[in-house]
Symmetry: C2
Subunit: 322 residues, 2 copies
């Protein structure tokens, strides 16, 4: 049972751009309806971010939990798992946290800009084959259309038999828009006020930046397999940064992925630098605690609720839950 005060969906951030000199065409937008003018010249919003706020009637989490997705995905990655179980949004709502699901700019309900007119770059569309290796379900080349022919890592906890269902969550992404995205996330934090950020993969980069840029609003940071990290701060951090505990969680099969060893090394170097500056940094290396078989998509793996429970316990200890 989830008792909510409200569910609100809204957009923050972004800016206006105006295009001109483009060819006007005609389109039949409604089946069987009239043909109308389609004039692409004019004003567009770009860079905005969509968020959905589930506000508890009687919150037990002291701060809303912001759930920030990874690259090529949307806020939907925190909802049902590919095999149809309830995801982390449900888990934390049932615990009594208010939650915020959001789509980074250019993804999902945030809309994406015309290219090359607004963003000169082409987007990247992820294939299931590419995801299979990058998300460490199995070796590169291990995905096959036929389920029985797929090669996955031993003890794999990701529901690989539902990989095709998972692929329905994929959305195009651009790789040149980190600054635009950070700006929108900071606007979201500014609007929501004091919050906890739970971020996955690419989203973790923005969470680490948000903790640096708005340290008075970010009360704790949980990083699921951070794919990136800001540059290491030179010199001491502002005092308020010392009070933001960080938790990083890592799955299995890093031996099988050069790419992920590189991502992880950079993230761990950054977290070590925070630790050296007296920030409380916790690590949950799942295989080291005897939990083998987690992929990059920890919140969808068969033990997703166990990992969520660990996050909940850590947040409770960090004073973010009553």
């Amino acid at each position: 049972m989830i008792n909510l005060k409200s569910v609100r969906g809204f957009h923050v951030g972004g800016e206006m751009v105006r295009l001109s000199g483009l060819a006007v065409s005609r389109a039949q937008a409604a089946t069987g309806g009239p043909v109308r003018v389609s004039d692409p010249n004019g004003s567009y919003q770009t860079g905005q971010l969509y968020a959905q706020y589930f506000e508890q009637a009687q919150p037990r989490g002291l701060y809303p939990l912001m759930l920030w997705h990874g690259g090529g995905l949307t806020g939907a990655s925190w909802e049902d798992t590919p095999d149809g179980r309830a995801g982390w949004n449900t888990f934390f709502l049932c615990k009594g946290y208010s939650t915020v699901l959001s789509d980074a700019p250019e993804r999902g309900r945030s809309g994406w800009p015309r290219y090359p007119q607004i963003n000169p770059q082409e987007p990247e569309h992820r294939t299931i084959e590419q995801a299979w290796g990058q998300f460490r379900f199995g070796p590169g080349g291990g995905y096959m259309p036929k389920e029985t022919e797929r090669t996955y890592f031993t003890n794999q906890r990701f529901p690989t038999q539902h990989a095709d269902q998972f692929a329905k969550q994929f959305v195009a992404r651009w790789t040149n828009t980190a600054d635009i995205t950070l700006k929108a996330y900071l606007e979201l934090v500014g609007k929501m006020g004091p919050c906890v950020i739970v971020a996955h993969s690419q989203g973790a980069y923005f969470a680490l930046q948000a903790a640096r840029h708005t340290p008075n609003l970010v009360k704790a940071v949980v990083l699921l397999e951070p794919a990136g990290a800001p540059d290491i701060p030179t010199g001491p951090l502002p005092d308020v940064c010392h009070h933001i505990p960080h938790l990083a969680i890592w799955g299995d099969y890093f031996d099988n992925s050069v790419l992920w060893r590189e991502y992880r090394e950079r993230a761990e170097r950054y977290l070590a630098a925070l630790h050296d500056r007296n920030v409380l940094v916790s690590h949950l290396d799942l295989p080291k605690t005897g939990i083998r078989g987690n992929s990059h998509m920890l919140m969808m793996d068969s033990n997703s609720d166990e990992i969520a429970l660990h996050v909940h316990d850590w947040l409770t200890e960090a004073g973010c839950y009553r």
Copy 2:
């Protein structure tokens, strides 16, 4: 207060396509991280539909209310209004209906396909200028970047001073994918079971089709300014279709829009044909009842809750609420 049994987000429908022969590139997806291969050759899901199901703990609506958005928009159009009021999703949740917010294929969290490889056509991105005229906020050409310079229709109820905020909801759309979209909507209806469909603009076309294709599951249809309609049925309808009441709601300023008079004429012809075949068809022509000033975006206008209340009363009378 909204007491939910669960909130679930998931994808239905779609199919797999496989691409080959495309150039492989390299991308730095994580800021400061390693450059990795980006190989567009392989398998993609396309045509899937994202839905979010807010299930009441103790529903007073007899069937979930499916809220289907219009062209170039997403499920977000049923959430907060551009001026920050709670939208129809909140209204109906507070009344005790379970609701389903969804994004049509290629929009929002449903993801959009590579073009021209998967869909040969280019998408349409809507400008605010085009929306201004098409949504009957004011005359074509009436939008100006400066709010004080805009021309809108007298008594306009759309929050025109927040038109730029509204534009953050716009997403690219294709005009050649009605069949794909209908297929996915029918899968959604099949998954949800008995339901009521509340549909806006382009979405109303799919609602009318769903009532024809799955008449045993669609218990009532509410059409906000339907922008299209199926071809008129030849011969008698299956008996079960006679038990699906239809309500159509129309705003103001049709005299100012040739395009909308054409859309409306086609929709009303279709509804008249249903009526001739003994389907219960109700019309709410707002200006005729003395309510002037509604735009095409009825659920965002200043009297959005009054119109929602009318829908609620009509659904109650139709036996869809206890």
